[in-house]
Symmetry: C2
């Protein structure tokens, strides 16, 4: 599939934030039909230490319009105080200038080390070169420029017919560690729970701002907000959905068309979110922790997240050890009044524990075989109600420790 969407041009390059000439700066220029700005819906980390670029973009995205976005890797511009805020604004202004927009029409995102001052002069010097290289066929360069500990670009693309018209989406994401996104819409800044992950989706859909925001929120909740690598939440998590409006036909504002748009976004975000977990630092497999029979979705989420983040469960997953006792123990401390004597637990299709009873050594042997697969589900049924929720996680390996004990040295 071609990684092009009408209304968008992309660029990636090296500004000197990373060593050895690696790409560390990306640029998106977008516009609607007849030179109008594009529309944007965005979600951001609910961390109390939201980075300067998050604060700036959250405010801009509240207006719903944009003409460009600049993103750097190698430095998070987080915990950088007033200087960080000034740097984020200067970076955005410089990007807006090179694409011929006003400063207020630009969005910004950063990822990398927390706390170090952003070398904004290097970014300023690199931007004119990036602007010269902007091209509709340069999406892969953008995807490359946002990587940190990722091992490869994460890209997805799809199209769908909505209201009889073809709508395209391309998406790029980054993220491998400090991953447990908990993002809220720009329009509704948040309460606060949990990663750096960044994602940029570009579509030519013509949608009302309200429909675009609703579709974005629904898709993010079911995908990026349902993954964890280490349970650590970033200061910089951001998802941007940019819509140029170049697709023909009437504007999407609700009903079956809005639902179709949400499905399309969800499909792309789902692929990208899964790619983040699969590329989780030191990860060798992806596990869906599915909790069913909960009294509410929030309760199912709490239990699933507790299991998905337990170091003992994650090391057992790494060792291909069907240690269901650790799973039940984790579920029992999620702050939900579960009853272990009424719980069912299976790995893949193998029932290991039913209503308080161990199913024996043969079941464990069968589960061990399932756990050698690169991806499989762990299912817990609580027998408390009808609600369900899945959270995707990976194993905890010695490699994760190596990566993170050496990060800056």
């Amino acid at each position: 599939m071609k990684l092009q969407v009408p209304g968008f041009r992309f660029a990636g390059g090296h500004a000197g934030l990373k060593r050895g000439g690696a790409f560390d700066l990306g640029l998106i220029a977008c516009e609607g039909p007849d030179g109008a700005p594009a529309r944007v819906a965005a979600t951001f980390t609910a961390s109390r230490a939201a980075a300067a670029p998050v604060i700036v973009s959250r405010e801009r995205a509240a207006g719903g319009l944009c003409r460009g976005l600049v993103v750097n890797s190698g430095n998070a511009n987080a915990c950088t105080g007033p200087k960080g805020m000034a740097d984020a604004k200067a970076m955005t202004a410089a990007a807006a200038r090179v694409i011929g927009a006003s400063g207020e029409e630009g969005l910004v995102a950063s990822t990398g080390v927390i706390g170090a001052p952003l070398p904004v002069d290097r970014i300023r010097r690199a931007l004119p070169g990036l602007a010269d290289g902007l091209g509709a066929d340069r999406f892969t360069d953008l995807a490359r420029a946002i990587l940190t500990t990722d091992t490869a670009e994460k890209i997805a693309a799809a199209e769908a017919r909505i209201g009889g018209r073809r709508v395209r989406v391309v998406g790029a994401a980054k993220g491998a560690g400090m991953i447990m996104p908990d993002m809220t819409l720009a329009a509704r800044p948040g309460r606060g729970r949990h990663a750096t992950m960044l994602a940029f989706l570009c579509t030519d859909a013509r949608a009302s701002l309200q429909a675009l925001r609703r579709a974005t929120r629904g898709a993010v909740d079911a995908t990026f907000n349902a993954i964890t690598v280490d349970g650590d939440t970033s200061t910089n998590d951001s998802v941007f959905v940019l819509a140029s409006g170049h697709a023909s036909g009437p504007e999407i504002h609700g009903g079956a068309e809005a639902a179709a748009l949400e499905r399309l976004l969800r499909r792309i975000m789902g692929e990208l979110a899964q790619a983040i977990v699969a590329d989780g630092e030191g990860a060798t497999c992806v596990v869906e922790v599915r909790v069913e029979g909960a009294a509410s979705v929030a309760e199912a989420d709490r239990v699933a997240r507790r299991v998905a983040n337990s170091p003992l469960v994650k090391t057992a997953i790494h060792g291909r050890d069907p240690n269901w006792g650790r799973i039940v123990a984790a579920a029992a401390t999620a702050g939900v009044p579960v009853d272990p004597d009424r719980m069912d637990l299976s790995i893949g299709k193998v029932a290991l524990y039913r209503r308080g009873r161990w199913r024996g050594a043969d079941a464990e042997k069968a589960a061990h075989a399932v756990m050698r697969e690169p991806a499989y589900p762990i299912r817990l049924h609580l027998h408390r109600g009808e609600a369900a929720r899945s959270v995707w996680t990976c194993d905890l390996s010695a490699e994760y420790v190596r990566i993170n004990a050496d990060y800056r040295s």
Copy 2:
């Protein structure tokens, strides 16, 4: 110091739950003056999947009296349903029988693998031999019998003058993984948050049950309930304080004497709790995460616990990397409305971050030197109020992964 306390006899031996003849069964026999039972105050895990021995001992400890305690390692008797309950009671009854007590006067504790049926017949067969070996000078055998992945016995002893009379305490604990105790008094079964750790304190104090319980609760909250190895909470955590009453003088029931008793218990429990963290699976250092300037102790606890359990903070500690950005990021997602621009952070005596500002590369170099010590504090000041709380944690190493990815294979 002699590991003997008037009114107590101990034994440890091999029942066949562990391989290779390792000690896996311990026995305590206790009695007050004139053949009265001893008093007991105990705290137990708040896990919703509390193990069968916890359920049995919680009920027994509510009565406040006992004549003996049996403990095994190698099998947790957790998630074992009705059979587990029957096994725990049979184990207690057998222990009571060999020490000449009634079944209701015995307490029980277990630690080891979750989910496997308890080989209670092996325990029954081994108990008469243990009873024959009971001795006032056998405390070390008991301490040895409770170990699982621990690398050594954890023992502490102290004495103090309370009300002009000498009071003695000896204590033994086990615990290295699945450690984040959250225990409540037997008399007040709990809400539920967070480890297997077991501790047994034996004192000759003559104290009212109420004074003994209050001192136990205070001491546990400041010590065992303030440590974490991996943030995973066990089904079996239990602390027992047995008081024979053999110390002379009037009964301790309040005032300065009760406070002195609490200080004495706290000293022993503090030593044992620190020993658990220091022996944490794969640990190479002990770090006190101290949060000051919080609006409440609960708030300070929440922030300290979030930092102390963050895999990114714990791997940075392992790498001796003064990565304060990860610490601030963790604190900012604890569900407390902290303001990173008003936060101070230091490692040892080195200030790394003050009111939203990085203190530079030289400070990081100095902090790196502090982090080469086997124990040091990380201090966070929130500037929100006057409350403070410390939580003790260890680093996360590749060795932790190795231990837990191989546990049962």
